[in-house]
């Protein structure tokens, strides 16, 4: 053995190990990203993203991309990289599904609040702002 690496000391040996570890790291499956994307997907599902058309669309995209990533995760380096990209996209789509769900909820609450105002005004003959209800309806629906 000694004549094979006659002039290499301990430090050089560690360097080789580190390089090997780097190579392994580059080619490892994106399990951390998978966990993050799946967590985001579950959160979107739990807030009811499936009940709002726009949010449901992005929830489905997230689901599909997580599934696609799982197919690629154990492949070669290029496939692992693709898997990671799928997961990054899935995480953002899941976040977007959450955002759309929250927005839809807030808009529904705003609409209900204006409806109450108009009902109250009607009771006292002050009905002059039905337009506000119309303004709330449909906001955030055309992206």
């Amino acid at each position: 053995m000694n004549h094979l690496f006659p002039s290499y000391g301990l430090g050089s040996g560690l360097g080789v190990l580190a390089f090997a570890a780097l190579l392994v790291g580059c080619a490892s499956a994106p399990t951390k990203q998978l966990g993050e994307s799946q967590a985001a997907y579950r959160a979107a599902d739990e807030v009811g993203a499936g009940n709002h058309p726009e949010a449901a669309y992005h929830l489905k995209l997230a689901e599909d991309q997580i599934a696609a990533a799982k197919e690629l995760m154990d492949g070669n380096r290029r496939e692992k990289r693709m898997a990671k990209r799928h997961l990054q996209r899935a995480e953002l789509d899941a976040e977007l599904a959450i955002a759309y769900t929250r927005t839809a909820g807030a808009e529904e609450r705003a609409k209900a609040a204006w409806h109450e105002v108009n009902e109250l005004k009607k009771q006292s003959g002050m009905d002059d702002s039905r337009v506000r209800e119309g303004m709330i309806e449909g906001e955030g629906q055309n992206r």
Partner: protein, 295 residues
């Protein structure tokens, strides 16, 4: 010539290279979408309500643009453009949520305002009603007090009896008419002036009746007619002094309701009388019936 041929043969290759370069430098559809979404976020409410998210979208877009510069049409460009696009949508969705929250807050504010306005109006209306009620009550009390005083003042010239049902003012026939006559004496008129004032103070909603009574001397028929004429004379005078015509009737009772013994001169004098009855109960019978009413 050979050189010219070489140039001619290379020309299509050069053209192809140029065209290829142009084609590949075109941004991917995803990058175009990302640019548009970012511009919308930057110029819309997101710029105000979610500036940090707009900034993130810009950073991602710049990453995508650099990838496009480095390697146009590459997977990396496509991927980074996708992330940039979603970041821009996130910024806009977040801003929409904030706008909706503000709308809710504004609605709640308006709700409170309308409630307060309604409550103020109700209180103001109640206050107005209470003021009006109080004024009416005071006016009524004053009128009642005046009526009571006016009636009390009649005690000097007539016998006044009052209960909850009626007020009876009895005037002696001696001071109103000559014996056998239905013409009012001059002294009667000044007394009846005071009676008229007292009656007017009772209010226009009360019905009144003037009952004429005689003693028992003479025939029943004569006495009834005389009492009727006397009652009418008193009624006409009172009406001439402002008592509403529709409010007061005249009835000749004759001799049938004596209040004293007709066998003595004093008793007969008491029986010769005119009673003016004010109905406090509101429109019920103001005296025993049986004689001819007159209006």
């Amino acid at each position: 010539m050979q050189r010219f041929n070489i140039i001619r043969s290379l020309a299509p290759v050069g053209l192809a290279l140029v065209l290829g370069a142009c084609a590949s430098s075109r941004p991917s559809a995803m990058l175009v979408e990302a640019r548009e979404a970012y511009d919308e976020a930057r110029t819309g409410p997101a710029n105000k309500y979610a500036p940090d998210l707009v900034y993130e979208a810009r950073t991602k877009r710049e990453d995508a643009e650099r990838a496009h510069q480095r390697d146009p049409g590459s997977d990396t460009e496509e991927h980074l453009a996708y992330l940039a696009h979603r970041r821009a949508l996130l910024a806009m969705a977040s801003a929409d949520e904030r706008v909706a929250h503000e709308e809710s807050a504004e609605a709640r504010k308006q709700f409170e305002t309308v409630l307060v306005t309604q409550r103020d109006e109700a209180m103001s209306s109640r206050s107005r009603f209470q003021d009006q009620f109080e004024q009416e009550r005071m006016a009524r009390e004053k009128a009642e007090e005046n009526a009571r005083k006016a009636m009390a003042s009649l005690a000097e010239i007539a016998n006044v009896k009052a209960d909850e049902q009626r007020i009876t003012i009895t005037l002696s026939g001696e001071v109103l008419f000559k014996t056998g006559s239905a013409t009012l004496l001059p002294i009667a008129q000044s007394r009846l002036d005071r009676v008229a004032e007292a009656l007017k103070s009772q209010g226009e909603d009360k019905s009144m009746v003037v009952n004429g009574h005689t003693d028992a001397r003479g025939s029943d028929e004569f006495n009834r007619k005389l009492s009727q004429r006397r009652a009418e004379a008193v009624r006409s005078y009172l009406v001439s002094r402002g008592v509403r015509e529709a409010q007061i009737r005249a009835v000749g009772k004759g001799e049938v309701e004596p209040v004293a013994d007709n066998k003595t001169a004093e008793g007969r004098a008491n029986n010769r009388r005119v009673e003016i009855i004010v109905d406090n109960a509101g429109g019920s019978e103001t005296g025993p019936s049986g004689s001819t009413p007159s209006r």
